[in-house]
C-alpha cells in the first residue's frame, strides 16, 4: 500500500472539515477502500477514520420509518428486529451480498459508496475513464461480461455492484448527508448517477460530504416482495442481474409497485412510469411481461454481456411472480421457485 497519513475523526464536523481536502478519503469498514488501495486504484494522501463517530444506531423515526446509521454494519442491519419484521426486502438483499465476514465489517455508508468491480477499473495497467479520466475504456470492445446493458455511455459501461442499494432504491430510501455546506437529504434515485461524460463520479456527494444515515419511509412491504439475485456461483459472488420487488395487492389488483434492477447499470435501475402503468392491473403473466419490456426498453448488449438482456427479462417476470404469490426468494435455499 502507498503510505498515507491517518487521522481519527472525533466528530462529524472534524470529519467533513478534513474530508474536503484533496486526496482525502473517509475510512469506514475498509472492505472496499483497503482493497482498492492495495491495488493502487485509490491513492489517498490521507485517511479519515470515521469509525469512532456515533453513527451506528438503527432507530425508529418520529413520523414513522427507520433510520439506519451510516456506521451500522451490514450484518447488524440485516438482522435488526425492525428491519427483519418491517423491511424484509432490505434484509434479504443484504444477506444476498458478499460473505458473513464482509457483512460484519461493511457499513451502510460504505456499502452505498462502494465502487464498481469492472476488471479494468481494478487493473492500473489498463485504460479506464473512471480511474483515470480521459484514458479510455478497456471494457468497451473488451471483456465485458459483467457490464451494463442500460444507461451506459460511450465513456463507461460499468455497473454498480451493491445488492443493498437495489433494495434501498425499491424502498424509496433517503440518504442523509452532512458537509461543509451543511446538511441535506438526497432521495435514493438521485444519489447515484449515470456515467455520462464524467464516469469518475459515481454519485452526487460533494467534496467533504459525509453520509450520516439512510432513512427508510414508513411504507412497509412485508408480504409481497422478493430479492432475486442471479450470479455465476450461488454465494459470495456479485450479481449478474438482480431484481428487488416491493408490491401491494388490493382486491386482486396491483395497488403499489416498485421494481429496481441490479447488475445492469451504473446505478439501481428503476422506471416509475412503467411501475405506474401496472397499477390497477391483475398480477398476471401478461402484465409482468409488458412490464419487463418497459423496464428494459433501450437495453443494449456490449458483446459478452448480451445474455443479460434475456436473463433480466426472465428474472423480472419471475421476481414479480414471487412477489405476487408472497413467496420471496430464500437466501439459503437458492432454488428459484
Amino acid at each position: 500500500m502507498i503510505p498515507f497519513s491517518y487521522i481519527r475523526a472525533g466528530s462529524a464536523d472534524e470529519a467533513t472539515a478534513a474530508g474536503k481536502e484533496p486526496a482525502t478519503w473517509f475510512l469506514a469498514g475498509g472492505t472496499n477502500l483497503i482493497d482498492l488501495m492495495k491495488e493502487t486504484v485509490e491513492r489517498p494522501a490521507r485517511l479519515v477514520d470515521i469509525n469512532q463517530l456515533p453513527l451506528d444506531q438503527i432507530e425508529t423515526l418520529p413520523g414513522g420509518g427507520l433510520r439506519l446509521g451510516a456506521l451500522a454494519r451490514n450484518a447488524d442491519t440485516a438482522y435488526h428486529p425492525t428491519v427483519e419484521a418491517d423491511y424484509p426486502l432490505l434484509a434479504s438483499a443484504i444477506l444476498a451480498g458478499a460473505s458473513p465476514q464482509l457483512r460484519n465489517a461493511a457499513t451502510n455508508g460504505g456499502n452505498i459508496n462502494q465502487r464498481t468491480r469492472c476488471y479494468y477499473f481494478y487493473d492500473v495497467a489498463t485504460p479506464c475513464n473512471k480511474r483515470e479520466p480521459g484514458s479510455g475504456c478497456g471494457a468497451i470492445n473488451g471483456v465485458n461480461r459483467i457490464h451494463a446493458i442500460l444507461g451506459a455511455s460511450d465513456q463507461c459501461i460499468a455497473t454498480h455492484p451493491s445488492d443493498m442499494c437495489i433494495a434501498l432504491a425499491a424502498l424509496d430510501a433517503t440518504v442523509q448527508v452532512t458537509g461543509p455546506a451543511g446538511q441535506r437529504s438526497i432521495p435514493f434515485a438521485d444519489y447515484h448517477r449515470l456515467p455520462g461524460d464524467n464516469p469518475s463520479k459515481d454519485n452526487t456527494l460533494q467534496p467533504g460530504e459525509l453520509v450520516t444515515a439512510i432513512d427508510l419511509p414508513d411504507g412497509k412491504f412485508t408480504k409481497n416482495y422478493t430479492y432475486l439475485k442471479l450470479r455465476d456461483r450461488l454465494s459470495y459472488a456479485f450479481a449478474l442481474v438482480s431484481v428487488a420487488v416491493a408490491m401491494k395487492l388490493e382486491g386482486g389488483a396491483i395497488s403499489d409497485l416498485r421494481v429496481a434492477l441490479g447488475g445492469v447499470a451504473h446505478k439501481p435501475w428503476r422506471r416509475p412510469e412503467a411501475e405506474r402503468q401496472l397499477l390497477g392491473r391483475a398480477p398476471d403473466d401478461a402484465a409482468f411481461s409488458e412490464f419487463a419490456d418497459a423496464l428494459l426498453d433501450g437495453a443494449v448488449g456490449q458483446g459478452e454481456n448480451d445474455f443479460k438482456i434475456p436473463l433480466a427479462r426472465k428474472a423480472i417476470q419471475r421476481a414479480l411472480r414471487q412477489a405476487a404469490a408472497g413467496t420471496p426468494q430464500s437466501q439459503v435455499d437458492k432454488r428459484i421457485a
Partner: protein, 177 residues
C-alpha cells in the same frame, strides 16, 4: 506500467506511526505501527501468530478470518489502527491448553481438511457463525460458511464438523434451560 510519479500520493505529509492497543488471545499488547499495516500482517509479521493465513489478501477467500470482539471478519482488509481497544481471537487462542476447542476436535474427527491451509480461517469463521446463532440446518451452515473457500474441496466434511458442534451447542443450551 504507469509512470512511477502517478503512484505517489498528492501530499505525503504523514506522522507515520500510530499508537494503539489490542487484546489478542487474552493478552494485552501495545503497538506503535504505520497506519497501513493490516490486522493480518500485524498478527503474522509482528507477533508471529502465523495461524491466520494470507490466501488472497483481498477479502475473497476467508483464510485470514479472525474474531474481533466475537465477530468474524477478514483480517486482510482491516487496518490494525482502526481496532484500538478491541479483543482479537485467532486460531491460536481457541484451544484450552492441550485440550482442543470443540471445533478443532470436530474437524479432526470428521476429516474436515486436506492441506489445512484454509482450516484456521474455517474454524474461526465457524466460531463466529456459532456466536451469531443464525445457522441451525446444514443448508444454513453451508450458506453462512460461504465466506471460506477450500481449494481441496473438503466442504462436505467441514459442514459435518460444524453441524456437529452447532448441534452440541443446541443440546447444551437445552440442558441449561
Amino acid at each position: 506500467m504507469p509512470p512511477q510519479a502517478t503512484l505517489q500520493p498528492a501530499a505525503p505529509a504523514f506522522d507515520v506511526k500510530v499508537d494503539f492497543s489490542l487484546t489478542i488471545n487474552g493478552r494485552k499488547h501495545s503497538f506503535s505501527v504505520e497506519p497501513w499495516v493490516t490486522l493480518l500482517d500485524l498478527l503474522r509479521e509482528r507477533l508471529d501468530l502465523t495461524g491466520s493465513k494470507k490466501g488472497c489478501d483481498h477479502g475473497q477467500c476467508g483464510a485470514c478470518t479472525v474474531l474481533v470482539d466475537g465477530k468474524r471478519i477478514n483480517s486482510c482488509l482491516k487496518l490494525a489502527v482502526t481496532l484500538d481497544g478491541s479483543e482479537i481471537t485467532t486460531i491460536e487462542g481457541l484451544a484450552d491448553g492441550d485440550r482442543l476447542h470443540p471445533l478443532q476436535q470436530a474437524f479432526v474427527e470428521h476429516d474436515a481438511f486436506q492441506c489445512g491451509y484454509c482450516t484456521p480461517g474455517q474454524i474461526c469463521s465457524a466460531q463466529g457463525l456459532i456466536n451469531e446463532g443464525r445457522a441451525r440446518t446444514a443448508a444454513e451452515i453451508r450458506e453462512l460458511m460461504s465466506g471460506n473457500l477450500c481449494r481441496c474441496g473438503a466442504y462436505t466434511n467441514i459442514v459435518d464438523a460444524v453441524e456437529e458442534v452447532v448441534r452440541q451447542g443446541a443440546l447444551h443450551k437445552e440442558a441449561a434451560e
